[in-house]
Symmetry: C2
Subunit: 470 residues, 2 copies
């Protein structure tokens, strides 16, 4: 009962404060889905308010979809964001499998790293070289922005070296990038726009900041900017979060025209673009050119995030952020308050690894191998599932996002059934705060599997879709 | 709006009168931290002045650090936490020195690592052994709680192995521990209690969470629990942050009696204790026993943070957190949303380093060396500064917190003057949100310096104090 306790503030009606408090408890998971809320009389006594106040609070919760009545039984909590809730369940299932034995599974989840391209021996010798070179320096990193050598190396290799290097800081992976940027620029009740669907890890961070999240739809050439502009006209927006290439999960890349317009809108309506450059190394189609939003950032509105972990190796936990002139100091301060600095040895090893050309080699091998797998898998999916599904053609990346008629079988059921047959797909709903009735997707990611394994896996998916029809 | 009313006096420019009035309202608490100031147009109309007058007034407030702009949103009040503001300045000065050339300085700042005890060669061979043993596994860490081997190792060596290991998770240093715990349990407007003075990095995190921070004073045997209980009676408190041994900066340790009472209060008033176990390895005095609050946590209220970086090496960025039954899931979720997981290689290397007994050896060497330096430095300080200062005797740790009569010289001036003579001390004010008129401290930390260097440094401090008198 203590969790319902409130210190009432002066000028907000009590029933609103009570209902807000309960909503927060639900969001935080302190009240569970379908948990019974306290009886009206009891809560009224506990909070020393009138019974009617509680009734009004419960009515408000119900009207907002955060509670429901059961006849003669009381009021029950209803969690929204089923997608995110299901995501946790899904992650647990995956974790359970990977803890036991992953072999024997055909894994389309994309959660498990492709490790075959990582040259352990080379990296080991790089680490030794770095320790011999820098000695104790390897274990001392006082610079919160990161190891200067690595920052310079990134600037030279991946950016116009005219860029002010002060804006570039090393972070412990893209997730930390999102986190520290959010702490630096997003405050409570700020409005943030994300694509729908999008990466759940970003939504979680924005929720921790207590931002209001607006979702806008995504088209074949990137986010729907008319829809965006409608929102901009009516609301003060702090930031737009986007993955410009091979958006997770849809695989969609933003067209040049849209990038230009988005940057122009950022200037006109004064918001930041948080660009999560997810997998732009993996462009397979020659007609796709690489131009990050950051490289086009004439109005100094783009904050850029790049992960090295996704392609390099997750256990390495490295990435970088490029701020804007106005935000960089706040981002660095936020990094300091988050974890002081990123582990020094790994930064120095990555630096040397890039300088010696190994990074380029590794990415280039991955690109040619993945490009091949991508084309083969696309063929297989078209052949095997073509009658049942729609596919977005990503032209790069590591996934296909597939739309399936819900009358055939829903994504969760398909996931469960495939799992029983040792094929792991990703149900689409985990990428939505809330999935609509007619939406039904699943994602197929590739990596470790051979062409033959992928074919077997896709056939099993087809069989389960066909069973679903019956 | 009425509070903004002014009767304008004749000969002071109106914008100055307006800005002074607002500053006064902020100091008096009639305008709160982060409260939005009235829109320019509105305030201009209300005071019957030109819009430009308000713009100038707001500009003045901003330039004086009493207000800040939020892009497109308006101007907000900023309370001046001078201590924290000065801390930034102080950090900048220190950084500038360490970027140039630190040699020739006698460093009592404690910000610079003592690296002489770190066996680089041994650690290098450990890293190689780990890579040979685990191969690619070294670079893949999917477990957000951390490498299982290290968690088990910590549990066995430092804790009762009956503890449920699920509650123990690896973090990237103590600062991240504070950050992820705060995200997990502290929400906007939650009340958090800290000791006064305390570690600025903790205050910053609580401020990011928009918590209300209460400060309570600290006595020779730890925080003033009567004062605490007075606050508890009147306010719902979410968490109390404390360093149980050699508190930073005072060096004070909490007595057994107070620890027991604090735990009892946590149970009675239902709050969490965030225990930052800062330097308990460095106990020099035999009559000081080690009992962490966590080890006494019969009511499951203590969330424990331990850094390996402080004594081990900052560049390593490792530490761990032990949650309570109720908070552990939320802390792990918060870790995932912050940076997914901590770098794997370092965890595995530390694990092997501890298992092979090197950690114990390293700490034991440090303890005996530091114990000697501590005793010598205490003698020197007593001899040289005894006439001017009061010292808290910490019986362990790496610092002395020294109280100085302000009529002699204030901490900032002393810091500046010593700096010119190449002696670095830490001015006490950086550990206070706001320092009171009669408070005047500085901190002397030791580490790399020899006894002779320390003697020279302390003499220079004495000379500057004596000059101050004139």
């Amino acid at each position: 009962m203590e969790k319902f306790e409130i210190e009432f503030l002066g000028d907000v009606p009590k029933y609103i404060q009570i209902s807000n408090n309960i909503k927060e408890l639900i969001v935080e998971g302190k009240i569970e889905q379908d948990e019974k809320l306290p009886p009206i009389r009891k809560l009224a006594a506990f909070l020393s308010v009138n019974k009617d106040t509680i009734i009004r609070a419960y009515d408000k919760l119900e009207s907002e979809g955060a509670a429901y009545q059961k006849m003669g039984s009381g009021t029950y909590a209803k969690r929204r964001d089923e997608g995110l809730i299901y995501k946790r369940e899904y992650s647990k299932i995956l974790k359970r499998i990977s803890e036991k034995e992953f072999k024997g599974y055909i894994d389309f989840s994309g959660e498990n790293v492709n490790i075959q391209y990582f040259p352990v021996k080379v990296f080991k010798s790089i680490i030794n070289e770095v320790i011999d070179r820098d000695d104790i320096g390897v274990f001392v990193e006082k610079e919160s922005s990161g190891f200067k050598g690595l920052r310079e190396c990134i600037n030279q290799r991946f950016w116009d070296s005219n860029m002010n290097i002060k804006k570039l800081l090393i972070v412990s992976g893209a997730q930390q990038g999102i986190d520290i940027i959010s702490k630096a620029i997003i405050n409570i009740n700020d409005n943030v726009i994300v694509e729908r669907p999008t990466y759940g890890g970003a939504i979680s961070v924005f929720k921790y900041r207590r931002a209001n999240i607006f979702e806008i739809s995504i088209e074949q050439d990137g986010m729907n900017l008319d829809e965006l502009e409608e929102i901009l006209k009516k609301n003060k927006i702090k930031a737009v979060y986007t993955m410009s290439y091979f958006q997770n999960p849809t695989g969609i890349s933003m067209s040049m025209v849209k990038k230009k317009r988005l940057i122009q809108l950022a200037n006109q309506y004064n918001f930041y673009i948080i660009e999560d450059d997810y997998l732009s190394e993996l462009i397979y189609d020659e007609d796709v050119e690489y131009h990050s939003l950051k490289s086009m950032d004439i109005h100094d509105k783009v904050i850029y995030i790049k992960s090295f972990s996704k392609l390099f190796l997750p256990g390495i936990r490295l990435g970088y952020v490029i701020g804007t002139d106005k935000t960089t100091d706040a981002i660095i301060k936020s990094k300091i308050n988050t974890d002081i600095a990123t582990s020094s040895l790994m930064q120095r090893a990555l630096d040397l690894y890039i300088r010696k050309g190994y990074w380029e080699d590794q990415i280039s091998s991955m690109r040619s191998e993945y490009s091949y797998k991508y084309k083969e898998l696309l063929k297989i999916i078209t052949e095997e599932l073509g009658d049942y599904v729609d596919i977005i053609i990503p032209k790069g990346g590591m996934s296909f996002f597939i739309s399936l008629n819900k009358d055939l079988i829903d994504d969760k059921e398909l996931f469960n059934r495939c799992l029983r047959r040792k094929v792991i797909i990703t149900p689409g709903r985990i990428f939505f705060k809330r999935i609509k009735k007619d939406e039904n997707y699943f994602r197929i990611s590739f990596g470790n599997e051979s062409i033959e394994e992928m074919r077997t896996g896709i056939r099993i998916i087809r069989e389960e879709i066909e069973k679903g029809k019956k």
